[in-house]
């Protein structure tokens, strides 16, 4: 299991290396494009057409890649109610494993739903009005995010299992080092 977790950590490092700069770039680009739109409209009195659609095509990628990073860091919003009411470490670990398992099942469902959405988008061939950019560019972000949710949840499941089966050992590090 340790080898598998090490492999996952390597893949994770590659993913983070790719995702973080892309996220930073897209986020900054969106803010600057919106500000540029105001400037051309309010100051130059020459509104830029198509800016909004460009922004919307990439915005979904920010949300989905952001959510993937949250999955990676296990920082999705959650209640942590079990830790408040239960002091038995074994029970906490079992509940943690159960919650990861349910999350994984739901992530698999999300893969099928988002795949259907992507397929619908490709078949329908909808595109933006000005630049004729296909909307499936944006829709594919949901599918990619769903797949990556599964990837990180499998990692979490293995790590939780490892902790449960080998009590006393420290949990396997689930996040690789990154410099960003």
């Amino acid at each position: 299991m340790s080898k598998l977790l090490a492999l996952i950590a390597t893949i994770d490092a590659v993913l983070v290396f790719l995702i973080k700069p892309v996220l930073g770039l897209i986020s900054a680009a969106i803010a600057f494009m919106l500000a540029l739109g105001i400037f051309t409209r309010a100051v130059l009195d020459a509104p830029l057409f198509g800016l909004e659609e460009l922004i919307l095509v990439v915005a979904m990628w920010i949300y989905m890649l952001g959510a993937v990073l949250a999955s990676r860091e296990r920082s999705h919003l959650s209640a942590d109610f079990v830790q408040v009411v239960c002091s038995n470490p074994k029970m906490i670990q079992v509940m943690r494993l159960l919650s990861t398992l349910i999350s994984l099942l739901m992530a698999v469902m999300f893969v099928t739903w988002s795949y259907d959405l992507l397929q619908w988008g490709i078949n329908k061939g909808q595109a933006t009005p000005v630049f004729q950019l296909p909307w499936y560019i944006s829709q594919s972000s949901l599918f990619v995010a769903a797949l990556l949710f599964c990837f990180y949840l499998i990692r979490d499941l293995l790590a939780d299992l490892n902790t449960l089966l080998h009590p006393g050992t420290l949990p396997h590090p689930v996040i690789s080092e990154d410099n960003c």
């Binding site: 996220l23 900054a28 600057f32 309010a42 990073l69 919003l77 999350s103 960003c180």
Partner: protein, 432 residues
Amino acid sequence: MGALFAILAVVALMMIGVPVVFSFAAMTFILSIVYDVDISSLMTTGFWSVNSVVLLALPLFVMTGYLMQAGGMAARLVHFVEALVGRSRSGMGSSMVVACGIFGAISGTASAAVASIGTIMIDPMEKHGYKREYTSALLGISSLLGLLIPPSITMILYAVVTRQSVTACFLATIGPGILLILVLCLMNWIKMRLQPDQSNEVMSFRKRVVEVNDNIWKAFPALMLPVIILGGIYGGIFTPTEAAAVAVVYAIPVGLFVYRELDLKKTIRCLVDAATTTGVIMVILVFSFVSSRIFTFERVPQELTELLMDIFQDKLLILLVVNIFLILLGMIMDDVSVVAIISPLLLPVMESIGVDPIHFAAIVGTSVVIGCNSPPMAPILFMTCRVGKVGMSQVMRPALGFMVFAALPVMLVTTYWSPLALYLPRVMGYLD
């Protein structure tokens, strides 16, 4: 019945630690089975609802909060407010409340305020005789002013899920927000009067003028941010989303070149962190929109309205029940979940008893303030405990005091005295 089962399932899943996003996915899945609906076809609704320009304000305002924090703007702002409100003991507590209010007028989130204001103010306040648990509790409740003072992320979410005007919703929570500031300052003043301390240090007027004069110029670029955001929105120059973008574009050079506390690495980290924070909310929203569509197909809001009207009949009683319901939900669900799922369900109930949707926005906003500070969920209170380095059990008593004597009365006044929420939207022409 199916809807109730699905909502109970979400609560149960969240309580065993399933992240909100997957709990919502499970709710959608259960609804699809109970009502025999094909989710794949409804995913388009989720996608198009989230892929909106209005919702883009969310990541951009969160980015502004992070950039302010990392770029030194938040620190200058706090120092200025501290100088302005005074270095007396009660003044320090008030300056924390006011600083949170101003911070809320920029970033719209509570967590950024907790992190930046808490790290700057808790230690100096302890030197002035404030107990850490009291300061942490005050910070916890004050930081939630970010949910009331526009631009508020909660109000953006409410406006999107209930299809109301974002600007009108922003205006609706200004009154309750200001009332909460006043009540908290008053409570703090009374507390400090009742607890005399030798370390009480009052700054002379002349010294204070010098300090304010010194700090106002340092804080000037930071103070311009709420002016740009709110002035731009209500001056009709730009939309809330555009205001958020302008705030980001303004905060980056100020942090880089004016305060020189931001660098490229920190900037990228802020942008990535903001995307991470909002990405989670957006996926929740996708499932929330899909579920809401199923609820609408199955006439769940109408059935709920009929049920509540049959049982309670009286408007005041229904409002009280809704208040209690929102507080209880806030205790076990986070603010995003409450707004995303409960607002569209309860809005028809509110409309049927003559409550304006904009008024309901303020009711939801003030209820969420209580929920965010109420265990077991209490995300903001947990965060203030970490920042203040105190235990949850220590902070609970003062936190409960602020909730019972400040947040709860503000919620009740907002609920039962609609002009507090509706005056500004009416004056600004958003309501008839």
